[in-house]
């Protein structure tokens, strides 16, 4: 009787007439003339979030398998970021003629947040194509694959957290309680990650050229967004910065950690971009969810 509960977990019907259905026998109806796409997409999202434990287990396995057999394992993530921070810190502090104490905390926090965002966006492209083996064999909510991708990147990013704390401590730049404002910032980033995972995951499954395009766009965005350089360097023109989605998403986390909080205009822009990302993702998901299995 074990699996009776399990196999019923997906697509439990909402429209099954209770009078004619004894016990909990699930009904799966799929009618090409009445696709009920919105209902199915919402069921998929709900089912995926309810089964986050599966997504978390898969994400954890992804990380573990990536570093199998290596001595330091995921510590390599921390180390490579550390090397990058100190090398770039030495170079760019002299290029920008800033003192290390002024520049390094900025660079460390910026770079760690940027890596988190950029890796998530790049990884989002393989959300569904990477799960091909599972998608074609088992009817699971597609949302599970998205959550797996987001949690995997969250775990990766968490490995760099001690580094940020170390640099802030070392240069006496530890923030006060206002640093807790970074938590809602992280929630906004996470919501965006889910939306981007759904959207790019689907688009990249259908059009295989999008992945490389995204990779090069992210490289460009790294230089166009204030990661290495501080927004002040733009002078008057920094008023245009909130139009850059990468800047505002970085800033809602970085602001509280470095400068006591992010400006209201940054928050407003971040929320607007988040809304746009969610709307695009949901529209795509509702319309094309049933096609994903054919695309991969």
């Amino acid at each position: 009787m074990l699996a009776a509960a399990g196999t019923a977990g997906y697509r439990r019907p909402m429209l099954a007439p209770p009078s004619t259905v004894p016990a909990a026998s699930p009904l799966y109806v799929c009618d090409a003339t009445q696709p009920r796409r919105l209902e199915r997409a919402l069921q998929d999202l709900g089912g995926g979030f309810r089964r986050w434990r599966l997504a978390a287990a898969l994400a954890w396995l992804d990380i573990r398998n990536r570093y199998r057999g290596s001595v330091l394992g995921p510590i390599w993530l921390t180390l490579s970021t550390a090397v990058m921070v100190f090398a770039l810190g030495l170079l760019y502090s002299s290029l920008f003629q800033l003192s290390l104490a002024e520049y390094l905390p900025w660079l460390a926090v910026s770079l760690i947040i940027w890596n988190m965002i950029a890796q998530t966006v790049n990884d989002a492209c393989t959300t569904f194509t990477g799960a091909e083996g599972i998608i074609r064999q088992m009817p699971l909510p597609y949302t599970i694959h998205v959550l797996r991708m987001v949690l995997r990147n969250a775990l990766t990013a968490a490995h760099s957290l001690p580094l940020a704390l170390l640099v802030l401590l070392l240069f006496g730049a530890m923030p006060g309680w206002e640093a807790l404002l970074a938590l809602p910032g992280l929630v906004v980033v996470a919501v965006n990650a889910i939306a981007v995972g759904i959207f790019l995951g689907m688009v990249c499954a259908r059009f295989r050229d999008i992945g490389p395009i995204v990779a090069s766009v992210m490289q460009l965005a790294f230089f166009l967004s204030p990661v290495l350089w501080k927004p002040e360097l733009l002078g008057e023109r920094q008023v245009w910065l909130p139009l850059n989605p990468f800047y505002v998403l970085m800033e809602v986390v970085r602001g509280p950690l470095l400068s006591g909080g992010a400006a209201p205009v940054v928050w407003a822009s971040a929320l607007l971009w988040t809304g746009a990302a969610c709307a695009a993702a949901l529209a795509f998901f509702v319309r094309f969810r049933g096609r994903i299995a054919f695309w991969i």
Partner: protein
């Protein structure tokens, strides 16, 4: 009551990455049977075409047909992997699918971890998963290897493990691909007994196979597919030629 009802069911696989137009034309010119152009000018493979059938409780249905006739695609559609592009499908009952034994198996994980992972895939809670591990471990007879990564297993051990994981369930609608009938002789006897019990407990069996002796032993009805269409549907004796006298 568990049942399967399909009306005009159609599945088409678009061939997206065909590229050049000339290639498209050549493909269409040479295979007028199953490749065609859909409304938006894509070349599509008609995997299943206009299937209408209904399977009631207690029926044991064999899907037979040549390679590529659409047997596995139909199983996957019944399982809910592919959404039909045309027609209507209704499946009532908990579905158990034995389509790909290795699906969701992580080669780097130990046998026990894989069993717990499978429990999560099925949506079981911790307690149920632990019980699953006990039962699967016992049946697969892996002994101490249960705590060793799966990639170090011999092919036979892997098959035993996936078979044991896949068959710990009591679904109302059992979808099975013929893979599950292959295995090493040593294990086959126990495996066959277990499958027979599983089949007996399920309300509906849909089995894709080439093995006519299995069909005769287990099934009450045969649906013969050819190029994505049903060409014959009826009791075993009617659809199959009489058993070879041997």
């Amino acid at each position: 009551m568990p049942h399967i009802r399909a009306e005009g069911l159609a599945i088409e696989f678009p061939l997206y990455h065909l590229g050049a137009r000339s290639l498209k034309k050549r493909l269409l010119a040479h295979t007028p049977l199953r490749l065609r152009q859909d409304a938006s000018n894509r070349v599509v493979v008609a995997a299943l075409r206009d299937l209408t059938f209904s399977i009631g409780p207690g029926e044991r249905v064999a899907l037979v047909g040549h390679n590529g006739a659409g047997k596995t695609t139909l199983l996957r559609t019944l399982a809910g992997v592919y959404e039909p592009v045309g027609g209507r499908l209704e499946v009532q009952g908990t579905i158990g699918s034995l389509i790909d034994p290795a699906a969701g198996m992580d080669q780097e994980c130990t046998g026990r971890e894989n069993i717990l992972l499978r429990g999560l895939y099925r949506g079981l809670d911790r307690q149920q998963s632990a019980a699953l591990a006990e039962e699967v471990g016992g049946f697969a007879g892996l002994g101490e290897f249960l705590d060793v990564p799966v990639r170090t297993y011999s092919a036979g051990m892997q098959i035993r493990l996936s078979f044991a994981m896949a068959t710990v369930m009591a679904p109302e609608v059992l979808l099975m691909d013929e893979w599950f009938l292959a295995g090493d002789a040593d294990f086959m006897e126990r495996a066959t007994r277990r499958l027979e019990r599983l089949v007996a407990d399920a309300d509906i069996l849909v089995l894709a196979t080439h093995d006519m002796s299995i069909v005769r032993a287990w099934c009450t009805r045969v649906i013969r597919l050819d190029a994505g269409r049903i060409v014959a549907d009826g009791p075993v004796a009617e659809v199959l030629e009489p058993a070879p006298a041997a």
